[in-house]
């Protein structure tokens, strides 16, 4: 019985060690770095601009849709950023 208790204690100590040693601190969270906002923003903008450019080419309305979709892109980017920060905070 005492040997079992010893083992339990050892396991707990090791667990704590692992916790303190290997768990990333909150400001170095991998998920946090996954959602680095810059890429999210730029990617949305890029997609929106591409769609705008393509629609313009299709309808021959040169700068109109690219401008409209620029704003859409910014909005989508902000949406992405908000979602990302929500997800980081959830963790």
């Amino acid at each position: 019985m005492s040997e079992l208790d010893d083992l339990k204690k050892k396991i707990n100590i090791s667990k704590n060690k692992i916790k303190t040693k290997f768990l990333p601190s909150s400001n170095n969270n991998p998920i946090g770095s996954a959602f680095r906002i810059s890429t999210e923003l730029v990617a949305s903008l890029f997609v929106a601009l591409f769609i705008g450019w393509y629609v313009d080419k299709w309808l021959n309305t040169k700068p109109i849709f690219i401008i409209i979709f620029f704003f859409f892109g910014v909005a989508a980017g902000i949406l992405n950023v908000v979602r990302s920060t929500k997800m980081i905070n959830k963790d």
Binding site: P30, I31, S33, A34, R36, T39, E40, V42, A43, S44, F46, V47, A48, I51, F69, F72, G73, A75, A76, G77, L79, N80, M87
Partner: protein, 244 residues
């Protein structure tokens, strides 16, 4: 600087030209390092599973560690429903990790610093996740673009924004990996060039910086592979359990 730091990303043909229906699919240095990375992973598993024991050997422990790590990650991000996709996520993670790590060796080539490769990978995931979403939810998957509790007159606007947001996923996924690998390797090359240029008396300063940078790059190589896998899981989670 003696060399152009971008030169390391040059893709060139090795061996004979291969044509498939008139398209050039020749073996390149990039393909070669894909093959090497895949071979390393296969070797890793083959050695680990050569003699499976209840009490595992050293490499078997590593294999099981990787399995544990990925299955935990999938459980945390996508839940138990994502279990059938375990092998895919595992493959994805190990493939990217191996490509990143192999790329850190001198004179090797970093496949993940090719935007087309990361973009193709992200696209595979994007298409796969979309297909899974449609299989699981049918046409109802389109509701992912229609958030609840939005006034009707704002709906078209929001739908366009949501579609853009959805389409931006493969872009941000691929650009994140690509940019990290590209930036790290460019900086390594630049500082390596400084070491050579400054010579033996002053060169140790950028050299020490280079060493620190390599340590950082190893971390980044792991982290980016992990992030790529985690984000894939999160997208998969969106497709499996729609919460919009």
């Amino acid at each position: 600087m003696a060399e152009n730091p971008m030169e390391q990303f040059e893709v060139f043909k090795i061996g004979p030209s291969l044509l498939l229906n008139g398209t050039n699919v020749s073996l390149t240095n990039s393909s070669l390092f894909m093959i090497i990375s895949v071979f390393l992973i296969i070797l890793f598993f083959a050695l680990g599973t050569r003699k499976l024991n209840i009490i595992p050997g050293k490499i078997q422990v590593l294999n099981e560690l990787v399995f544990d790590f990925i299955s935990k990650m999938i459980n945390d991000t996508a839940g138990l429903d994502a279990k059938p996709y375990f092998s895919f996520i595992l493959t994805l993670f190990l493939f990217i990790l191996s490509l990143n790590m192999v790329g850190l060796f001198p004179y090797s080539f970093t496949v993940t610093s090719q935007i087309i490769v990361t973009f193709a990978l992200a696209t595979i995931i994007f298409i796969g996740v979309t297909i899974v979403g449609f299989i699981k939810n049918g046409v109802g998957f389109l509701k992912i673009f229609v958030p609840s509790g939005i006034p009707v007159f704002l709906l078209p606007l929001i739908i366009v924004i949501e579609i853009i947001s959805y389409l931006s996923r493969p872009i941000s996924l691929s650009v994140r990996l690509f940019a990290n690998m590209l930036a790290g390797h460019t900086m390594l090359k630049v500082f390596g060039g400084f070491v050579v240029a400054l010579g033996i008396y002053v060169g140790w300063l950028p050299l020490s910086f280079s060493i620190a940078l390599i340590a950082l790059e190893i971390l980044v190589a792991f982290l980016q592979a992990y992030v790529f896998a985690v984000l894939s899981c999160i997208y998969l989670n969106d497709a499996l359990h729609m919460h919009h």
